[in-house]
Every structure is written in structure tokens, then in C-alpha cells.
Amino acid sequence: MTNYLSKSIKELHELLKSKSIKPIDLVEEAFAKIEEHDYHAFITLNKEEALKEAKELENLEVDNLLFGIPIAIKDNIVTKNLRTTCASHMLDDFDPIYDATVIKKIKERHMIIIGKTNMDEFAMGSTGETSYFPYAVNPWNETKVPGGSSSGSAAAVSGRLVSLALGSDTGGSIRQPSSFCGLVGLKPTYGRVSRYGLIAFASSLDQIGPMTQNVEDNAILLEAISGSDENDLTSSDTPVGHYIDALGKDVCGLKIAVPNYYMSDTVDREVKHKVEEVIALLEKAGCVIDYIDIPYLEYAIPLYQIIALGEASSNLARFDGIKFGHVTDEFSDLEELYKKSRAEGFGREVKRRIMIGSYVLSGENANIYYHKALVLRNEMTKAFREVFTKYDLIIGPTNTNVAYDFGVKSDDALKSFYDDLLTIPVNMAGLPGMSLPIGFNHEHLPIGMHIISSYFMEEKIYTLASYIEKELKLDLDPKGGRTC
């Protein structure tokens, strides 16, 4: 079997341009790999359509870097006539009638959608285990979680089933699985990428972003999906950068902050050690590194519980058994139709979160919890803005740990939120953040580093990430026994 899909986008582009390979070769490789071993990365495959498109592309000029490149799409991004389930029984036969803005953009670039990837149900979870479908596994070690909620996107790219994927990140759902699976995953600035067509979890936090095998691919895909959108009034008209130009720029003189909170004892020793090694590397390269305190970071989880779950309880109200999604078979009145359809359609974690979210918005609780959380969120944002008046970037570990065994978090609802301890503050403030692979632990499980910049300063993230990537020269292909 071929293994083109472990090559970079630029390499594939050269091969396609010189007609050494055709798009169909990449598509056939993807489906051959998936048939052989799919890590449960996909919920729905787009095989027939993908093969047809690949054939059609043969008559077209290879006009951009992403032309003919196979991509996987998280299953909470709507795709016209391609089932979109949110990994939920509620939507397991939902065929959308329109394309999300990001889907339109990747189609314009003639990328080929291989399929819709597995995830935690409605993006609620950080292991992939809350999926209604058999959950995805980590290609580095299949007894370990791939992370979540973008579990299938991470498994698909890490397993080289596709070149790259789109994920979504509400509290760490791109960065944490990227870190667990040895990928480069970016949550863009809030408003950088249109949310139109992303089935909302928490509207003020959600953002779609690229999950890729390397930094360069990430920059290319981000540029392709970014931009203001009249269908999303929260999208920004800040001009889209030519991110690829930021790669390889000098890092000397960059001012970088390391929050003490990110290097506390809750962080695994090996993870911390790897981050410190990179810090030493950066200091050698002439970066100025300071350890600083950022106030309010410790409130990230309660803030998330209140704001994200409050919004979710409202966003998921439309799944009521009347217009789309699961409808219960038997009911005698309206209330029973609602109750049974929702009870049957949603899984445990989703129900738990809807209940918590409804509770924090109820009556007087809105003041006790929700409005207070908004005030605190505002303070946290101000604290970050303050840091970025003095520093170019913030770095630290993406997560407190590496990929862990299945089942360990499912007995404790709170524990799973702690995976997002270091990623949530970035969503709260609306900042861009990347997880970059920086090495492995003693079990050869990937370790991710978090790189955060100020608003719409994704270029700076790419500059630093490309430098670290070049210096570390990690082999990030879990291989699974394959060679080219």
C-alpha cells in the first residue's frame, strides 16, 4: 500500500502538479487504509462522492496548494447531503441541506472530503468516549484515548488516513486531542473562522480549526478556511494573514511568557520536563522567557461549567423531536414527545451538561452564577490583554498529562473537565492557541506544547512553532507497521 498521506501538503502538491500522482491515488489510499484499519476515526465515509470528485479533478488544473488533498471533517460541521450526526443518536440520520462556510471554502479549493469524523457527542467530552458510535482510539497506542472532543479527526490525521482534518475547539477540543496524538492543532482567534454550519455547543467559545501533521500544513489550511462571513456576525473582518510567510522567521528577541500556573505540580513531571527543554532551546535561540502570574486562570473550570454549559442548554433546545433529529415512536401529548425524544436521543454526558446549564441560568441562579461568570470572564480577558502588552507569546504545556487509558475519567464527571484546565482560558479570552508536538514520554506517547498569541496574531504562533519543529525533528508518524 502507498503512504503518500504521510507527506506534507507541499510535497503532495508537487507530485500532483507534476502529474506523478493523481487525486484518485490519494483518495484510494485513504479508503484502502480505512478499510484496513480505521481506528474508529470515522462515523460516515464519503467514498462514492470522493472517488467521483477525484476523477473529475483530473480534468482541472492544479491551481492551489490544497487541490486534490484528502481531508476529514469533524461530524459537527454540516455538509450538504452528507450525514452529520454530532456523534449523537439524536442526529444519526440527519442529512443537512446546506454546507457550512468552511466546507464551501475547502470545496472551492477542490479538497476532497473523505468522511465525517468521530467525536464526543455534541463535542461534549475530552476522550471521544461519549460518542454514540464505537469510540475512536489513539493510533500511538490503541489502549489510550485519542483525546476529545475532536477524537476522530485526531485519530484520522495521526493514523495518516488523511492529510489533514478540521476540528472544533470549545474548551480544548482541537488542542488536547492534537497533543495526545502528536499533531499540530490550532484553535484560531474567536471570529477568525466562520462558525456558520458548526452545530453549536457553546457559541461564544466555539471555533473551527486545522489539525495537521506539521506546522506548514496547518498554516496553509488556516489561511484557506479563514475570513469574515456575512452569515456569522461574530466573524471578524481583520484581514487574513498569509500564514505560510510566517514560517521560518527569526525567533531571536521574541518575548515569551510562561504562566506559573501552567507549570504547577498538577502537570505531569515528564510533560513539564519536555516543556522546560524547549524553553532552554528557545532561550538559546535568543528568546526572552519570563515566568509570570496571570490572575483568574484558576477559575477556568467553573467558568466553563457555567458559560459553556449554560449556552449549550439553550443551543441544544432545538432538538425537540419536532423538526429534525430523533423522534420517539410513541407519545400521547406534546410534553411526552419532548421528554421521550430528548431522553432517547441524547446520551448521558449531554443530558448532564444540559441539566447543569439549565440550572445555572434558572431564576436567581442566573445572577449567582451566570452573570458573575461573565464578569470574571471579562477580568480574565483583561488579564491576558495585559500580558500581551509586554509579551509576544505565552507558552506552556497543552495538557497536564499525556493520553491515558479508556475508562479512567468516565467514573468522575468533573475529572474530565480537568483535562481542559490549561486550554479553557484561551477560549474564554477568545485568543488563538496551538498545540505543537515536542516529544514523547517513556511510553512513547506524544507530548504537546501550548503556544498562545494575542488576537489575530496567529503568525507569531506559526513562527515559533516552525522554529521548534525544525529544531526537534520529531518523527510523528505512529506508522502502524506501514512504510512508503
Binding site: V78, G197, N231, L233
Partner: protein, 472 residues
């Protein structure tokens, strides 16, 4: 003594071109479920847009009602489950209504009073549910149609004030051109809150809400009924319950719909999908400058011009007539113009089921018609005859009057002959005149007009008649 406390909530449907949160056409009356976008369906993944025309219209309403403006405003979600609410929440304005703390001035029984306005906010309408034997049908044409809700302060003292408040409010919305405000079609919906308290107490009584009342006069009837019902209950020592009632127009009573549950929990929170809207000072000023003449100002200017109250009422109620009068009133006698507009012209329109627009009335012809009447060149009887002719022929009324032989006889000698002839033929009238009876001149005048087939100039005839009678 028990006194009522009344507050009124009004929903007004705005006639913007598009819906408030999508680009779908705002035309409920079209074929059901044709003006629908994915946004209106609450389709997964969709996000609301924001129609600036709606904000402009709401801003006009708020300013016309003397409201303060929330210059940084946002939208909120009101969460509840109902089949006519596709998203499971309504996008409304809870925390920052576009307008607050305004008032309307009403006239009742010769006194004027300011009724405070608590708030005016923007929100979306729901689907229209049609309940049938086979189940409930939903028409999404209405989902997302823009509404403004106007909430009065509880400062209305009785049914008459409530009716006056609603009529005033309705007129303003009509003159702003932002709504059809037709209660029977649902583009204006009224709820009233009624409670009774002891006059000297500063504690409000238990409030009863009367929902969706079918006409403004029914609002008056239902409030009157509700005041009596509650007073009777209190007299009997019973407690008034917090409840929602509806008005039944067959029995002229209110009927219990449901008891109020303790505090509906709508779990309001700021709508994260829409950005904050800033209404600048310039925006407000521009809107103020663009406001049309409103009924209160019109009424004042009509009174100053000497137009009678009945005609004023008819003019205000017929916006196209009052706007037409505004265009021409400087160029002709406004009292005569008002008489014609509210009288012969309006009945002509009604008879032919036309609007003033359909008529395409030439203002120059109309003013010259009014001049003919005001100067006495045409008698009112001739005016009645000429009006439909010049409206249909669309030609100069002067020319037409001539063609129709309606020119007046102004020749004094010719008229004197006629006067003498009539007096001689009616000797008893001379006696009456000597006794000082009015009817004598009136009768003779009528005879002369008959003789001249209405063409005698009445001013000249009147003068000649008196001169001749004095000779006896």
C-alpha cells in the same frame, strides 16, 4: 375606595422588507412556508443575522414615544419549549431594550394625560400554529417576523384611558409608517394587566392579565368587566388570583385561561451569536430629523386652522387624507379643503373602493376646486356635482365648470330682475320679512337659486334681496 391600576403591553409587527434575523421576505400572507430560510427553521449550525431596517424602525418608534435610547444594546435569548418556536428560544431584548422610560400624551374627555412607557424592545415572532383535527400545522412565514413590544407603566386609570392610549399608540405607529397596526390581522396585539388597590395604599393589588384582545374597543370592554369582577370579589372578601384571562366578545366577559405559575423561568442570557449594537448620537439625530409629522402635532395645527373636531378625527384616522392636506393646506382654504376631503371625497373613495393613491389626485386641480368653493364661485351643490366629474376627467375644475354651464351669473341687472320677479310672486314672504322672520330671506333665496338653476352668485343675490325687501 378601590382604584384600578392598569398597564398595557402591545406587540407591533414591523413591516420591514426582510425578517429580523434572516434575509427571508417578511410577508406572512404569502403561500404558507414559502418565505423561509434555514435560519428561520432554527436549522442546526445556522446563526442569526441582524436587519438594520428593523433597528431603524424600532428606533423611530422609541423616539416618537419620547423614550431614552440604550445606545449600546444587545439581544438576549428567552428559552422555552413550544412547537411554534423552532430554536427553543426567542431572540429578544431583555436587559437592554432599545427604548425605555418614555411616554405618550393622551386626550380623554377633554383632559390630557401623560402615560409612561416602561420599555420598547425588538424581538422575533414565532411560527403561526394552525390546530386542526389531524394535528397542528406550522407556518414558518411568520417565524422571525420583527416585532416591537411596547410596555406601558401601570399608570392607566380606567378603560377610557386605556382605549385612548392604544388609539394614540396605533396612530403613531401608522404615521411612522413602520406597521399596518391591524389588530384583526395580528399586526397589533394587545394585552392588559388589571389590578385593584385601596386608593390610599401604595401596595398594588394582585394583577390579572387579559391576553390577546381582538380590538381596541374590546380592550375597554374587557377592562371595565375585569374591574367590576375584581371589585365584586374583593367586596365579597374573596382573594383575586394571579391569572391569565381572555376576552370573550360574545358575552363581553373575561374567561380564565390559566393560573399563573410561580415565575416563568425563561433562563434569559445574552445572545452570543449577535454582536452588541451601538446607536450613535448621529444615528439618533438623523432618525429624529427624519420623523414624519405625528398625529399630536397635526391635531394642534388643524385646530389652529379652525378645522372642526369631527373632521380632525376623520383626517387623523385617514393618514393618506391628512398627508394630502399637509401638502396643500398652505395653498388653499384649509377648512374648506378639510370639509371636502373628509366629506365628498372620502365618500367618493369609499363608494368606488379606492384609495387616494388609486385616484392619483392632482393637487393643483384640487386646490383650484377648493378656491372655487371658498370664493363662492361654485355653490356647494355645484361642488358636489363637479367633484366626481373632475376626479374622473382629470381636467381643470375651472374649465369643467364652464363646460358644464356652472358659471355663476354675476350680472347685477340680470340678477335684480330675477329677485324682483320672485318677490312679487311671494307676497306673504314680504310680510314675514317685516315681522323679522329669518325664513323669509331663506325661502326667497332658495326660489332664486331654483330660478337660476343654481347659477346665481349667492353673495350678490343676498345683497340685492335685502335691498329690495327694505323697499316695502
Amino acid at each position: 375606595m378601590l382604584v384600578p391600576t392598569i398597564g398595557v403591553e402591545v406587540h407591533v409587527e414591523l413591516k420591514s422588507k426582510a425578517k429580523v434575523y434572516s434575509h427571508a421576505k417578511n410577508a406572512f400572507s404569502n403561500e404558507p412556508n414559502t418565505n423561509v430560510e434555514v435560519i428561520d427553521l432554527g436549522y442546526p449550525g445556522t446563526l442569526p443575522k441582524l436587519n438594520k431596517e428593523v433597528i431603524n424602525m424600532a428606533l423611530k418608534a422609541a423616539l416618537a414615544c419620547h423614550c431614552k435610547i440604550n445606545q449600546v444594546m444587545h439581544f438576549d435569548r428567552k428559552n422555552y419549549f413550544y412547537p411554534d418556536l423552532p430554536k427553543g428560544y426567542q431572540i429578544t431584548q431583555q436587559e437592554t431594550p432599545i427604548g425605555y422610560d418614555g411616554y405618550l400624551e393622551i386626550e380623554v374627555d377633554g383632559y390630557t394625560k401623560k402615560i409612561g412607557i416602561e420599555r420598547i424592545h425588538i424581538e422575533e415572532d414565532t411560527c403561526k400554529s394552525i390546530h386542526s383535527l389531524n394535528g397542528t400545522l406550522l407556518n414558518f412565514n411568520r417565524a422571525g417576523v420583527p416585532l416591537i413590544e411596547i410596555v406601558s407603566k401601570p399608570e392607566i386609570a380606567n378603560d377610557k384611558e386605556a382605549v385612548a392610549y392604544l388609539e394614540t399608540l396605533r396612530e403613531i405607529m401608522l404615521y411612522l409608517g413602520i406597521s399596518d397596526v391591524k389588530i384583526e390581522e395580528g399586526s397589533m396585539r394587545c394585552d392588559a394587566n388589571v389590578s385593584l388597590k385601596e386608593e390610599e395604599s401604595n401596595q398594588f393589588g394582585t394583577k390579572v392579565e387579559i391576553k390577546n384582545i381582538g380590538s381596541i374597543s374590546y380592550v375597554g370592554t374587557s377592562i371595565r368587566y375585569e374591574i367590576n369582577r375584581q371589585a365584586e370579589m374583593l367586596k365579597r372578601g374573596e382573594k383575586v388570583h394571579e391569572e391569565t384571562r381572555r376576552f370573550d366578545d360574545k358575552t363581553n366577559t373575561t374567561i380564565l385561561m390559566r393560573m399563573k405559575e410561580t415565575g416563568n423561568d425563561y433562563r434569559y442570557f445574552p445572545e452570543p451569536d449577535l454582536p452588541y449594537v451601538t446607536i450613535s448620537d448621529e444615528w439618533i439625530q438623523e432618525t429624529l430629523d427624519s420623523l414624519p409629522v405625528l398625529p399630536a402635532a397635526l391635531r394642534k395645527s388643524y385646530r389652529e386652522a379652525g378645522i372642526n373636531e369631527n373632521n380632525i378625527k376623520t383626517l387623523i384616522a385617514n393618514i393618506d387624507l391628512s398627508m394630502f392636506l399637509e401638502r396643500i393646506k398652505e395653498r388653499c382654504n384649509p377648512v374648506v379643503a378639510a370639509n371636502i376631503l373628509t366629506g365628498d371625497l372620502l365618500s367618493y373613495l369609499n363608494k368606488n373602493s379606492m384609495t387616494l393613491d388609486d385616484l392619483n389626485l392632482n393637487p393643483d386641480y384640487f386646490t383650484s376646486f377648493i378656491d372655487l368653493l371658498a370664493s363662492g364661485e361654485l355653490s356647494s351643490k355645484q361642488g358636489k356635482e363637479l367633484l366626481p366629474v373632475f376626479l374622473e376627467k382629470k381636467e381643470s375644475p375651472k374649465k369643467l365648470a364652464k363646460l358644464l354651464g356652472m358659471e355663476q351669473i354675476q350680472d347685477t341687472d340680470a340678477l335684480l330682475l330675477m329677485v324682483k320677479k320672485v318677490i312679487e310672486a311671494n307676497p306673504s314672504s314680504i310680510e314675514d320679512y317685516k315681522k323679522g322672520l329669518d325664513r323669509a330671506t331663506k325661502y326667497l333665496m332658495g326660489q332664486i337659486m331654483k330660478e337660476s338653476r343654481g347659477q346665481a352668485n349667492p353673495q350678490i343675490v343676498s345683497k340685492l334681496l335685502v335691498e329690495e325687501l327694505e323697499k316695502y
